[in-house]
């Protein structure tokens, strides 16, 4: 997207460098805001603010919140992925091990 190389594996493995501006801070913040360590959340929030600014903290929180919502709607109702979402992305699904998610069956049972 937009000509920048990224290592998508970082989305499922926090040990990997995503190689994108602000990416490591965003990933750490995402983990911390859903996690159980408040000190870690405070550190991640500060690191994100120092990297991308205070507006980024608010925006990242809104996005984490949005997908907190959407993931519960999807996983809670058993909806399948739309056919167009499945086209041409098999290599990414393999790379990230998405088929191992319990929710994957909600899509694959219809294929």
């Amino acid at each position: 997207m937009l000509g920048q190389e990224v290592d998508l594996r970082a989305v499922v493995d926090p040990q990997i460098d995503i190689k994108f501006p602000g990416g490591s801070e965003l990933l750490a913040f995402s983990d911390a805001v859903l996690g159980s360590n408040l000190d870690e959340l405070d550190r991640a929030r500060t690191a994100l603010e120092n990297s991308l600014g205070p507006a980024a903290v608010s925006s990242a929180s809104i996005i984490a919140a949005t997908f907190t919502k959407n993931d519960r709607v999807a996983n809670g109702t058993g909806i399948p992925a739309e056919p167009r979402m499945m086209e041409g992305a098999e290599n990414i699904r393999e790379l990230l091990g998405l088929k191992n998610f319990r929710s994957a069956v909600n899509t694959y049972r219809h294929l």
């Binding site: 159980s36 709607v73 999807a74 058993g78």
Partner: protein
């Protein structure tokens, strides 16, 4: 005054406004739950979060109605609140077998999804969870959309037009994906979910414009980094 006036981080006015409205509406009767039941459900979800260590109880949690949820409702609320990656069809089928109706289940999903969302935002910007409203009297509307059927989800959904009929046209326009239609069995939950999506993620008209700048401080790719990581943690294949 903004719902998030106590935050040192700027929260967009439209986000604060829609959240304030949805908190207020939680205190009203829903489609299948009374206001007291709905507030009790969200309270129970928060309790699950406190027990799991992923939410912190505020000094002012707001209303805590004296409503005892059924065992099956309690079970659904807890799993959805703190372990959405462990939801599966067997869990849903058992909930229905144990006496929860499909419409009650969907209303619970809608409520937990939205209020967990609000609580994660609060946590992210470092403010206490917002207090829950006092429940008002009145009866649920009990309106079940006549065109809802089991399509490819576990729960019945309103199909897109033409099969979904007039209500599909009203709610979805020409088309909506499953991520929106998943809770359409309770149209008011669909409406609330859709309103949040348009404001919090981005207006759907711009979804495929990958250089569309909507979020202060984050580019679209940076937005998707957060979205992807959260969904990976929740093991959401969709």
């Amino acid at each position: 005054m903004s719902l998030y006036a106590d935050s040192i981080y700027p929260v967009r006015e439209d986000v604060a406004a829609i959240h304030a409205l949805q908190f207020e509406k939680l205190g009203l009767p829903g489609t299948w739950g009374t206001a007291a039941q709905r507030v009790a459900i969200v309270n129970e979800a928060r309790e699950a979060g406190y027990q799991a260590g992923v939410m912190e109880k505020p000094s002012d949690p707001g209303a805590a109605p004296d409503v005892k949820l059924s065992e099956v409702a309690h079970r659904v609320v807890h799993r959805l609140a703190v372990s959405p990656k462990d939801m599966d069809q067997a869990f849903y089928d058992k909930a229905i077998e144990d006496g929860l109706s499909d419409v009650e289940y969907v209303e619970i999903v809608g409520l937990i999804a939205r209020f967990t969302c609000f609580d994660v935002l609060a946590r992210g910007i470092g403010v206490p969870l917002r207090p829950l409203p006092q429940p008002q009297g009145g009866s649920p509307s009990r309106e079940r959309p006549s065109t809802a059927v089991v399509e490819k989800a576990w729960v019945p959904t309103i199909p897109n037009v033409p099969d979904g009929g007039e209500i599909a046209k009203e709610l979805f326009g020409p088309w909506k994906p499953y991520i929106m239609r998943g809770i359409s069995l309770v149209p008011d939950e669909f409406r609330a979910h859709n309103e949040l999506e348009e404001v919090q993620y981005m207006p759907s008209a711009h979804f495929m414009e990958f250089d569309y700048q909507y979020h202060d401080g984050l580019t679209r790719p940076q937005v998707e980094i957060v979205a992807s990581r959260v969904s990976a943690i929740n093991e959401c294949f969709y």
